[in-house]
Amino acid sequence: MTEKSIKKVLQRHRLSGDCHMITFQLEFQLLEIQNEESLSSVITDLSIIMEPTEYSELSEFVSRAEERRDLFMFFRSLHFFVEWCEYRKRTFKRFKEKYPEAVHLSEGASSSCMGIRSPSRPGFELVIVWRIQIDEEGKVLPKLDLLTKVPLQALELDKNGVIETAPLSFRTLLGVLGIEATLESLIKSLHTEASN
């Protein structure tokens, strides 16, 4: 008769740190079970606190990570999320500097929306909404949408329904030109019209 010995060790850890503008503090428990054949390690409890809390996309992601006790996914997705945020900020800033009158950022460079106006054509506005979403599996994806603001008169003149199909055309353009080129082409289209 062989005696089976199982050794269980429960560790508690606390990690705190920051990733660009986000600080986090995690506490988790790690259960290691050593039996004769193998060693298994399982995270049995995970709680995450993040600051700042204004990134609403993050709160859902955080609760999902806690639920799944997926520590690695949390860090991975956090990294990609922050990278995308920084890229969005840089892009918006660049356009604002290049076209100061046309580009309008309501909340500064960290906003998720960029408005394009033409100073000589008031009443027209293109708003690009650039959200950064984290899906069920922790994949970080940018999601861009176009909103149009057009005076009623112009709408009546729009026989080809350009305004109506604009959001869809925007998506197609994104696929062809990529984010930066698409945004720049939109700015230029409204901007050059103004100078005519």
């Binding site: 850890h13 990690l15 399982v42 049995t44 997926d70 690695f72 994949k139």
Partner: protein
């Protein structure tokens, strides 16, 4: 003096005598008290005396300790050179700093990506996990030259390492590592699901689970109730996106020759949806717990 005063006045002689007697009485009681006082006073005195002894003893002890400490400090400052004391504290400081850095490096293991310096560059260790279960870890030994190269690694051959390194290794090492991390974690997760299906839910499988090494193509025949009379379904799961642990394509088909009843068709469609939305072993857990009544609330 009092005696003289009271005896000199006739009218008050009786009062005087009484008063005198009173005085004598008080005197007696005072004397008695005084007689007693020494006894209690003695007791108090002896108590105080012992207390004083104790305090003196304590004071002497503390004095001795202070002297000792002073002597020690003097000895240490006189015996050691001034530079050396500085060195010792610096040594202490560096030791503590090194321990701190070691602790941080250890903590990085829990982020999934950790590394250590090598003579050539850095050896990065990528950990994988699925639903809190820590699974295999892999390493990539990088040579930090211009351009950086992979010296050797433990990445399985079916992970598109060449593709990923061609895209990112030269331009953005961090992105290279995180992308590799995504692929490896996804593979680990799929493998975990397939392993769990084979080990924990063998009773539900009507045949062997067919899987490829990348675990992104799974094919199996199963029954929702192991003991039931129902005919088995055939499931085919394809994970086109190698960075995901949920399938991108699911087909559940019916094996038999006769047409499916409406309930069976509903079941088939519901199962398909389940495979899309829940990890494989969790789908079978729900089969096991619900029996043959499929809870439609799971299908959402």
């Amino acid at each position: 003096m009092e005696l003289a005063n009271t005896l000199s006045q006739d009218g008050e002689s009786r009062r005087g005598v009484l008063a005198h007697l009173e005085r004598l009485e008080t005197q007696v009681s005072r004397c008695r008290k005084k007689l007693e006082e020494p006894q209690s006073a003695q007791a108090v005195e002896s108590a105080l005396g012992t207390r004083i002894h104790e305090l003196r003893r304590l004071r002497d002890k503390l004095r001795a300790e202070v002297k000792q400490h002073q002597a020690r400090v003097k000895a240490s400052t006189t015996n050691v050179e001034p530079d050396q004391t500085l060195e010792i504290t610096e040594q202490e400081f560096l030791k503590r700093k090194r321990e701190n850095v070691k602790a941080i490096l250890q903590a990085y293991r829990f982020t999934g990506i950790s590394g250590k310096l090598t003579s050539r560059g850095v050896c990065v260790c990528i950990g994988t996990a699925f639903e809190g279960n820590l699974l295999d870890s892999y390493f990539v030994d990088l040579v930090m030259q211009k351009p950086p190269q992979i010296h050797h690694h433990s990445i399985p051959v079916f992970i598109p390492l060449e593709e990923i390194s061609a895209k990112y290794l030269q331009t953005n090492i961090q992105h290279f590592l995180f992308t590799l991390c995504e692929y490896l974690n996804a593979y680990s997760g799929r493998k975990y699901q397939a392993d769990r299906l084979q080990s924990d839910f063998a009773a539900f499988l009507a045949g062997p689970l067919q899987r490829n090494s990348l675990c992104n193509l799974l094919s199996f025949t199963y029954k929702a109730e192991p003991e039931g009379q129902s005919f088995p379904f055939c499931a085919r799961l394809l994970y086109k996106d190698l960075t995901t642990t949920l399938p991108t394509d699911v087909t559940v088909t019916y094996q038999g020759t006769d047409a499916l009843s409406t309930t069976r068709e509903e079941q088939r469609a519901a199962h398909e949806n389940l495979f899309f939305t829940k990890p494989l072993h969790q789908v079978f857990t729900s089969f096991a717990s619900k029996g043959d009544k499929l809870d439609m609330s799971l299908v959402s």
